[in-house]
């Protein structure tokens, strides 16, 4: 069951290499991603038995897949995102589209593997599998400055992964039994100094991936230059790899080191949140604005994780999912606008509400979700996150709270510039919204409000992870 979630996109990706027709390959990819969505919904509701098979006997590494609450919610996010992305960007024309989609699905396989792997070496494999296709996707199909920027992104993250590899081997040589099971690493007896070393190695990898201030410099450029479908994958799902790593590795494996680093990490995160928010206010490029806003949201989640209060972590577990959905919606709207107007500058936009009321409504709705207004899904998560931060340190919560105001400023500013005012020359060009994108947006919107009004299923889904982290 769990293996099939990963194998479906992987096999489809290989199959697509031989299907030259763009339309056909898109349909096949859609069917495949719908299939993995169906399976993952089933797994989320009913659970699935672990998959456990010997892999490299000499190292005692196993193909071990395990779905707990954390894995389930992220798998669900991934499998919802991909069909939505394919639906929304299906009509975009690209050279060699079958290879584009194939690489996209390989990324999906990698991401799903990362979230499901219970074996450290397997985890590392999937971690890289998720990265390498993205390198090719961005470098071939990206914007003007794509090659240099993607390379920067790649070297950054690759260096991070190598540090993580050193950490994994370090743990392996110190663990009680010679195997790579993550839960086994938790029993390793490390001195505080060793814990700190391993913590730092892993933290570099995750901090680059999230990214945490001051390691974030690759991100806005990469988001701006990547093809939109890839930007969506990166900001909705890939950055979650970093947070996932914190929850799966740093907090349970190195409790002492995590606790002593908490103040520094939380402070850095909050500084990053404010910094990103201020920069977002200044942006004119709509893609960059969303990118910085995403940095701010991720920073907030990371702060709450290291604050390590039950309520805050619960908030993060929900927000992992909600942030993905919201940012996906924002990117889709931005993509429709960019595809049709040919510009990303908000100065050139305006009057969308008059020209395309449906699109304007969708934009406003996702903007509200981005500010975390009540009734939207983000409200639930962020409310809990702030609660947790307040318990950790009221001052931190106060500073982080400023970001909500800032977020309102830049998001509403964007809405104002894009949706209202006179119909600009660029907006005049928006003549239709393609059906696929419209459906994808509506589905996402339903999820936004459904989980905003009734978030209980998400709480139930992640209950076991929370219990594991706090009840020992």
């Amino acid at each position: 069951m769990l293996l099939s979630i990963i194998l479906i996109p992987f096999i489809t990706a290989l199959l697509l290499l031989f299907i030259k027709d763009a339309k056909k390959s898109n349909t096949i990819a859609l069917v495949s991603s719908a299939a993995s969505l169906a399976i993952s919904i089933w797994v989320a509701m009913k659970g699935a038995p672990d998959f456990n098979q010997a892999w490299i006997a000499a190292l005692n590494s196993r193909v071990f897949l395990h779905a707990d609450g954390l894995a389930k919610i992220l798998v669900l996010l991934t499998t919802i995102s991909f069909p939505a992305i394919l639906l929304a960007t299906g009509s975009n024309t690209l050279a060699q589209k079958n290879i584009f989609i194939s690489l996209l699905l390989l990324t999906q396989a990698g991401l799903l593997g990362v979230f499901l792997a219970g074996d450290a070496l397997l985890f590392y494999f999937f971690w890289e599998l998720a990265l390498i296709p993205v390198y090719f996707l961005c470098s071939i199909w990206g914007g003007e400055k794509r090659i240099a920027i993607t390379f920067k992104f790649f070297i950054y993250t690759f260096l991070g992964s190598l540090m993580m590899l050193a950490g994994i081997i370090f743990l392996y040589t110190h663990s009680t039994e010679p195997n790579f099971l993550i839960q086994n690493f938790a029993h390793a007896t490390l001195t505080p100094a060793q814990q700190t070393t391993a913590f730092v190695l892993f933290f570099i990898a995750f901090a680059i991936k999230m990214p945490i201030f001051p390691l974030h410099t690759w991100q806005p450029d990469a988001y701006e230059q990547s093809p939109t479908a890839v930007t969506m994958v990166m900001s909705a799902v890939m950055v979650k790899m970093g947070l996932y790593g914190v929850i799966r590795w740093l907090l349970p494996l190195f409790p002492v080191a995590a606790k002593s680093a908490a103040v520094i990490v939380v402070d850095l995160s909050v500084i990053g949140v404010l910094y990103a928010s201020f920069i977002a206010i200044k942006q004119d490029d709509i893609k960059r604005l969303i990118a910085y806003s995403s940095i701010a949201h991720i920073g907030l989640m990371n702060a709450a994780l290291f604050a390590h209060q039950v309520i805050g972590v619960q908030g993060v577990l929900i927000q992992l999912f909600s942030h993905g959905i919201n940012v996906l919606g924002l990117w889709m709207v931005a993509d429709i606008i960019e595809q049709q107007t040919g510009t990303r500058s908000m100065m050139a936009m305006g009057g969308l509400a008059k020209k395309q009321p449906t699109l304007a409504i969708l934009l406003v709705a996702f903007a509200f979700a981005n500010i975390a207004l009540p009734l939207t899904n983000a409200f639930v998560g962020e409310f809990l996150i702030f609660n947790g931060l307040f318990q950790f340190n009221p001052w931190v919560a106060a500073f982080a709270g400023v970001s909500v105001i800032l977020s309102a400023i830049y998001t509403l500013n964007m809405v104002q510039k894009v949706a209202y005012g006179e119909v600009s020359e660029a907006t005049q060009k928006i003549n239709f919204i393609n059906k696929g994108a419209q459906w994808a947006l509506i589905i996402l919107l339903v999820i936004v409000f459904a989980s905003g009004v009734y978030p209980q299923p998400l709480f139930d889904l992640t209950a076991d992870t929370l219990q594991q982290m706090f009840v020992k």
Binding site: A58, I132, F136, I147, L159, A166, T173
Partner: protein, 457 residues
């Protein structure tokens, strides 16, 4: 034993084939057949079958490990000849001579995997090196080839002198040429012994092109005909490492604490010089020369302290690195231009060639799903198990990240930069031969055990 005798015989036979048998194609097939025979003869020793029974009086000792190392070297040579056969015949007038030299090199290599006496180490190194000098200068019409050959010969002779001096020191201290000798009592003798070991260490570093004794490498690799660079950088180097392992697996303890300072110093300077200089190369051939220095830095990890990880790792590393390099040089031979720009637009012009090149580069960079990842993995694990500091690993990994920078420049040129690569004549089957190497790397990237299991049963 079988390997040494059969390879020497085959070398002599090969020399005379150009008399009776005309045509370069048939000479290539004879060489391939000879290699197949060599592999079989070598493996049959495991079943107790000897070409001749001979008591070497402790000069040689045959172990399962050594025989397996031979098999790896022979298999690599087989792949090498299979892929490069046509290119070899383009150089000089008598391809059969070159094949004969390969067999002599392999004979030297089999001595190096089985010596139990420092004199045999010396003989093995010489048998390995002298044909290499010839191969380097084999392109008589090219000035750079001649220069490279002379340079290699002079430097090689010099390092051989150092090796002999070291062996003499050890003999003076212990009264024996054997690898395993009891500790001697007097302080003076201990000093002589460790001094001798350090001299041997220096000479061996020269042979495997580890810094700071690497200066000959870029010029020689660059000057030699590309086909032979491919052989030197892979099979000859791997054989050098196997010898290096057997000397210091036993003897490292004699150096005691200074070993834990000396080796990391060499490792780090090798990684530093190899990787950082490679970044600035415009010529892919020179870049691969520096990258081969850098890769040697990783292989040196296995010397730190004997362990299963080190023993298995060096075999895996040697094999995977050689396969990727043979492949990479195999692509390079077909490029008319050696610069990175020469690869521009290769993905459009020849997708399959670009794909296999990508896999080779991934493997050299140590990216997961290719054999190169596990090779590096074993090395890191070996050094951590041996109790060296984590800092050494972190430094090495930072350099691995730098290596990604220059390896990926070729990938960028192939896939992202438009252009018309100038390709030489490529036979239809040629890319598929390279594909075999690439698939081999991918298989080992998921199941490294397939190579290592045979060590044990």
């Amino acid at each position: 034993m079988n390997a040494i005798i059969v390879s020497a015989l085959l070398g002599v036979i090969m020399m005379f084939t150009s008399w009776g048998i005309k045509g370069e194609k048939s000479q290539k097939y004879i060489a391939l057949m000879g290699l197949a025979i060599l592999i079989l003869a070598n493996l049959s020793q495991l079943n107790g079958w000897y070409v001749i029974e001979y008591d070497t009086k402790g000069m040689l000792a045959f172990s399962r490990y050594g025989i397996y190392a031979n098999t790896i070297l022979f298999t690599l040579t087989f792949l090498y000849v299979w892929i490069n056969g046509d290119e070899i015949s383009k150089i000089g007038n008598h391809a059969a001579d070159f094949y004969a030299l390969f067999f002599f090199i392999l004979c030297g290599a089999s001595v190096l995997t089985s010596f139990d006496n420092l004199l045999m180490l010396f003989i093995g190194i010489e048998m390995l090196s002298i044909p290499l000098y010839i191969l380097t200068s084999s392109d008589k019409t090219s000035l750079t080839s001649n220069e490279a050959g002379l340079k290699y010969f002079l430097m090689g002779a010099f390092s051989t002198g150092i090796l002999l001096l070291g062996i003499t020191f050890i003999y003076g201290a212990t009264g024996s040429f054997h690898l395993t000798v009891p500790e001697t009592g007097f302080k003076y003798e201990m000093f002589m012994r460790s001094g001798g070991l350090i001299l041997i260490f220096v000479a061996m570093n020269f042979k495997v092109s580890a810094a700071p004794f690497h200066f000959w490498t870029p010029d020689v690799y660059d000057g030699a005909p590309t086909v032979f660079t491919s052989f030197m950088a892979t099979i000859a180097k791997a054989a050098g490492f196997f010898a290096f392992m057997s000397v210091f697996q036993v003897q490292y303890q004699a150096l005691g604490y200074s070993w834990t300072l000396l080796l990391p110093f060499v490792i780090i300077s090798t990684l530093l010089i190899g990787n950082v200089t490679a970044v600035f190369q415009r010529s892919v051939k020179r870049m691969l020369a520096y990258s081969s220095i850098a890769q040697a830095g990783f292989m040196l990890f296995a010397l730190y302290k004997p362990s299963t990880f080190a023993n298995e790792g060096i075999l895996l590393y040697a094999f995977v690195y050689s396969v990727a390099s043979i492949g990479m040089f195999g692509v390079l031979i077909k490029m008319k231009e050696n610069s990175i720009e020469g690869f521009n637009g290769l993905a459009k012009a020849h997708p399959l060639l670009a794909f296999v090149t990508t896999i080779f580069l991934f493997s050299l960079a140590g990216i997961p799903l290719t054999g190169g990842f596990f090779a590096k993995y074993y090395m890191i694990n070996a050094i951590l198990v041996a109790g060296a500091g984590l800092w050494l690993v972190i430094v090495a990994l930072v350099f691995a990240a730098i290596s990604v920078y220059y390896y990926f420049k070729i990938i960028q040129a192939m896939y992202f930069v438009p252009g018309e690569p100038a390709l030489g004549e490529i036979q239809n089957t040629y890319p598929y031969k390279l594909l075999v190497l690439a698939v081999l790397l991918l298989i080992l990237g998921v199941f490294p055990n397939l190579l290592l299991n045979y060590l044990y049963f």
